[in-house]
């Protein structure tokens, strides 16, 4: 764990490496669990990630600052739950919670994220994709991010939650603003930080009112369900937990799906044979999407914290060490996947980390699959001779939620 290049993860975060971080991941994998110069421990091998994902000593919570004062470590100080300073510890969203609290909150969310409700969004999602494409119908060039991949998930999650349609525009603005809070480098910028804080407070105020309204007149939506349902064990979810959960669902559902769709289209246009095959046979979409989740996942890594010393492969991850589970590197581990750098939707045994794993496996995975399928099959079917205006496209700053800032496509027509 010691003789690796301790600056590799810093290089991963360097925006210059955003278009192609995979060579860095390959170098990291030479030491599947590698300690970086700043004390961060990076797991990049498939087996190591899998083991740590399931390990109860690997915490999704940040320890109280009194026990672990800020170290100047960028992962710990900038990435670990940037929203949490606005939320009391006990009301952090469940993505940043450990058992037993995590289980109770997640169970309550899953009770509302029902099969019927999620599948009920399929047709609506397809209609929304069609609307986005209609709006661009006269264009010969458009930006997939702004014109489709960004607005689609916000609308879907708003409808699923039960945000009134007239408020959706506000949500789009808030979501865009809060997305920057997830960018580690933005944490340096005090102006941006203050702006995020304001945004967060605005959403929280809005949600508080909306929840009150849902309690008064419940409708068939997730927020009404969350606001009125009573878990047999945990009881009714508290307002702060509800607000934290709703904001989590809004941001998580949106910042990730945009990447799945844009990375997906980018990858397909780099593999024109696969694009043509998808156009000819839309039933290939599930395979294509699973391979995208491996090959170009929307979330490249998640951070954790070692609650206790963790012996691992002959060394010990020290207590208090910030941990990075580098999913995108595990997804390209040749020890797990033959020809890992090949985009191959027909790959057998594609057990990827595209939605993470273990307790925190992405709640929204089924919805993400529906949205990505609706978008990619419609793009394949309707765009005539699409090509990339620039390759590589410009990327957003984020190295974890990694994806193009814009993806300009040139087309002959939209059918």
């Amino acid at each position: 764990m010691s003789d690796a290049d301790g600056t590799l993860f810093a290089q991963v975060r360097d925006p210059a490496n955003r278009p192609d971080p995979y060579p860095l991941y390959a170098r990291l994998r030479a030491h599947p669990v590698a300690r970086q110069d700043d004390g961060t421990v990076v797991a990049s091998g498939y087996a190591a990630i899998r083991a740590l994902l399931h390990d109860p000593r690997v915490s999704s919570e940040d320890l109280p600052p009194a026990e672990h004062p800020p170290t100047g470590n960028p992962v710990k100080d900038w990435i670990v739950n940037p929203l949490k300073d606005r939320i009391a510890d006990r009301h952090r969203p469940f993505i940043f919670r450990d058992p037993p609290d995590h289980g109770a909150l997640r169970r309550q969310v899953m009770a509302q994220f029902t099969v019927a409700r999620v599948r009920g969004m399929k047709q609506r999602t397809e209609a929304l994709v069609a609307e986005c494409l209609e709006r661009c119908a006269q264009n010969r060039t458009f930006d997939l991010v702004e014109d489709l991949a960004y607005p689609l998930p916000v609308t879907v999650i708003c409808e699923l939650l039960g945000v009134p349609r007239e408020d959706e525009a506000r949500f789009h603005a808030w979501a865009t603003q809060l997305a920057t809070a997830l960018e580690p480098e933005s944490r340096k910028d005090e102006t941006l930080r203050a702006c995020n804080t304001e945004t967060f407070d605005a959403i929280a105020d809005y949600m508080r009112d909306l929840i009150r309204e849902k309690r008064r007149a419940p409708a068939d939506d997730m927020l009404s369900g969350l606001a009125t349902a009573k878990d047999p064990e945990a009881g009714r979810m508290s307002d702060p937990d509800l607000i934290a959960t709703a904001i989590l669902l809004l941001i998580a559902g949106h910042e990730t799906t945009v990447n799945l769709i844009t990375n997906g289209m980018l990858t397909l246009l780099r593999h024109p044979d696969e694009f043509a095959r998808l156009r000819a046979d839309p039933e290939r979409a599930p395979r294509v999407i699973e391979e995208l989740l491996r090959y170009e996942p929307p979330v490249h890594y998640r951070t954790r914290l070692a609650r206790a010393p963790i012996p691992f492969a002959g060394t010990v991850i020290p207590e208090g060490a910030p941990l990075v589970l580098l999913f995108a590197a595990g997804n390209r581990d040749p020890a797990r996947f033959p020809h890992p750098d090949r985009f191959d939707p027909d790959r057998a045994d594609n057990q990827h980390f595209g939605f993470g794993g273990a307790l925190h496996y992405c709640v929204g995975a089924p919805l993400a699959r529906i949205e990505a399928e609706a978008a990619l099959t419609a793009l394949a079917a309707r765009l005539r001779a699409p090509r990339l205006a620039e390759d590589p496209p410009p990327y957003r700053d984020g190295s974890s939620l990694r994806g193009p800032k814009r993806l300009r496509l040139i087309i002959d027509a939209i059918a």
């Binding site: 099969v115 039933e283 699973e290 594609n350 995975a365 089924p366």
Partner: protein
């Protein structure tokens, strides 16, 4: 079609239940109940369940293969 799920591998992620809700149901916390002989007409949904399973626990044999035995 014939279906079997390796319930040693299954960790109740429930992705199959979203993909093919008529054939896979989660009861309680993590008890998966599934139809081991779904109709061929649901092939696409079952294939989705196979692909979406995060632990690759679902195995399927399409009806076309049943003829020989």
């Amino acid at each position: 079609m014939r279906v079997v799920v390796d319930l040693n591998r299954c960790q109740a992620y429930a992705q199959c239940c979203y993909a093919a809700p008529e054939r896979f149901v989660l009861r309680g916390d993590e008890m998966l109940v599934y139809d081991p002989a779904p109709p061929e007409a649901e092939r696409a949904a079952i294939d989705r369940a196979v692909l979406a399973c995060p632990v690759r626990a679902i195995r399927v044999e399409p009806a076309a293969a049943e003829g020989t035995a």
